[in-house]
Subunit: 395 residues, 2 copies
Amino acid sequence: MAIIVQKFGGTSVGDSKKIQNVADRVVQSIKDGDQIVVVVSAMAGVTNQLASFCAGISDLNSESKLAEYDVALSSGEVVTAALLALALQQRGVDAQSLLGWQLPIKTSHSFSKSLVQEIDSELLIRLLDSGITPVIAGFQGVNSDGRVTTLGRGGSDTTAAAISASIKADYCDIYTDVEGVFTADPRLVPLARKIDLLSYQEMLEFADMGAKVLHSRAVQIAMRYDFPIRVMSSFLNALGTTITKHSKNMESPKIIGIAHNKNIVLTDFKFKDYKAMEDLFAEFAENDIHVESINRDTQSFVECIIQLGDIAKVQAILDRSPDITYNIRTDIAIVSIIGFSLKNDTSIFSKVLSSLARDGIEIMSMMSSQIKLSIMVPEPATERAVKILHGLLIC
Amino acid sequence: MAIIVQKFGGTSVGDSKKIQNVADRVVQSIKDGDQIVVVVSAMAGVTNQLASFCAGISDLNSESKLAEYDVALSSGEVVTAALLALALQQRGVDAQSLLGWQLPIKTSHSFSKSLVQEIDSELLIRLLDSGITPVIAGFQGVNSDGRVTTLGRGGSDTTAAAISASIKADYCDIYTDVEGVFTADPRLVPLARKIDLLSYQEMLEFADMGAKVLHSRAVQIAMRYDFPIRVMSSFLNALGTTITKHSKNMESPKIIGIAHNKNIVLTDFKFKDYKAMEDLFAEFAENDIHVESINRDTQSFVECIIQLGDIAKVQAILDRSPDITYNIRTDIAIVSIIGFSLKNDTSIFSKVLSSLARDGIEIMSMMSSQIKLSIMVPEPATERAVKILHGLLIC
């Protein structure tokens, strides 16, 4: 008998019928003899709707406003947890919804992108021992002031991983609307293949680069507590991608896949002095703006890649900093080749360069690490670049 | 400086724009120098939508299912509380949402129609003393197991009254989409007048009889703790109806108003023996089915009025009781004359009888108390009966 945490994302619980399907799946797992803990996201579209309600009423430029934003947003997962618990009960399973504050899932103090600090597993273990299936509202927690916090977008994956760690689950299964992690986005590359096995490190590169299958914070928790995550489709009966310590297949190809990310922005800043640059990045940090990469060309000129979602916050800071000259480009994307020892293989870069050039795709910049080679291209060329690289390097 | 609890109902917070209007109103009250505690309902339509999600997934015939139903339904008020707190902050008011479990609002153990047992006022007083305006999610509480409960439909009124009692508020103001309590439903009777002052007892008769302005549990709490409730429109700047210990106007007319209620059902049961009758009413009580009135004609034949909302539960019980022959009629309504010493004034009943008969309206039955004379009529005749009685007895 295994203990399995099953997380169902927004599209998997998108309406009543889909919630019923999820309930059938959970019931089957219980019949198979496993102990199941369920984690759910909000129904597809609900979180966006709640966010747009908030945006229609107020800006969100203070901690106390973000606190209310979190209260509003967290309600989406509450509804799904209750509905799924109902659907399970209707199928004869003793199920009980659990909200962030009820477990509790203790998080850091700050709002909107809170970090999980501690989960008391006592209640969960007690429920499981009495044959009750817990259905946990993902994405949310409570801070030391007793106020509701949320874990940021994709936070339900983080909840599932944190719960898995706290009860020492055998598997953390992430059910989503795709079959697993692919060698490239199958919507772009029809030949893309499902990857059966990935290491945590490899998955982190995929997750980071916009493969929206699994949030990277979840992978990091799995890596730290060493349990396998399995990504699979809620709509199929097939094993998807397993992410674990080692990708056991020693003969796996050197190049694992092609990821891409359009949700990034290229910014360049010209500062009047070094102090001004220090101040800007300090403000970025205070406002939780993640800088993906920095190229410092001269003492006073810096090029950064930031996330598209942070652009409003960045703009607000720049509006208060009249001395900084800047440019923001949203028309770029990053295409990444994920594999082994890429840094040492100079042939790959030259092959990539020439095949993209043959198709008229400009390479704006390039960054490499041991397991990733990232290329910045104009956004309209993203799909073509992914296709070309997948054809060139994978199949 | 008065302490005022202001409760805003579903239509008052029906969309972003209306929430902004409510925020403006609260800000004005604060500027006027009062200390304000806000209680909000779910946005109009949200609770019904959540209820229909639940109904689409499962029946609700167990405590543990009702527990999940409560979790789902309570989320509506959570969203409004967060949005209004945001709107107030945007206007420079330090505001903070408070959910049922955060105060906490401690309720009885059972779900869906829980009773408020205790509200800890310490946190509320502390927030008010630090100049923070609390925005409380109505309708919800938490039981001794730490599970979410709801107070039943109209429960936000109850929350507002219970909060008023706990902090010894000077006024409990119920903002709604009507100007106050009228001598009859103004949609039916254009000549109906707003009533300025009502006693708790008079208001209870109106509330009970389907004047949807104010929930009767709220009135009962106000009566017990002796604070005035003021009912008024969120959309106007006018004092509505004040409900307090005495309706001070000694010269107020003998007849105060005409209420009506279509949300009732007439049932008659034929039992094989006395025991069968006992069992049925015991089951009604267990299932929290409120019997409005009982007429026992013979040992084995009973006529009852029950609430339309309970009909599914009643039907389910009858389906399990093959020995009971029954009839259910939904095509009836009750029209009530509310006033003083009606029981002693035999002339009223004869006047009512003849004027309704003149219009061909059948009086199916009649019940009277000291301050109410209720007449059962066929449902299609409700509007005409209200109009005729209002014209006959009021203006």
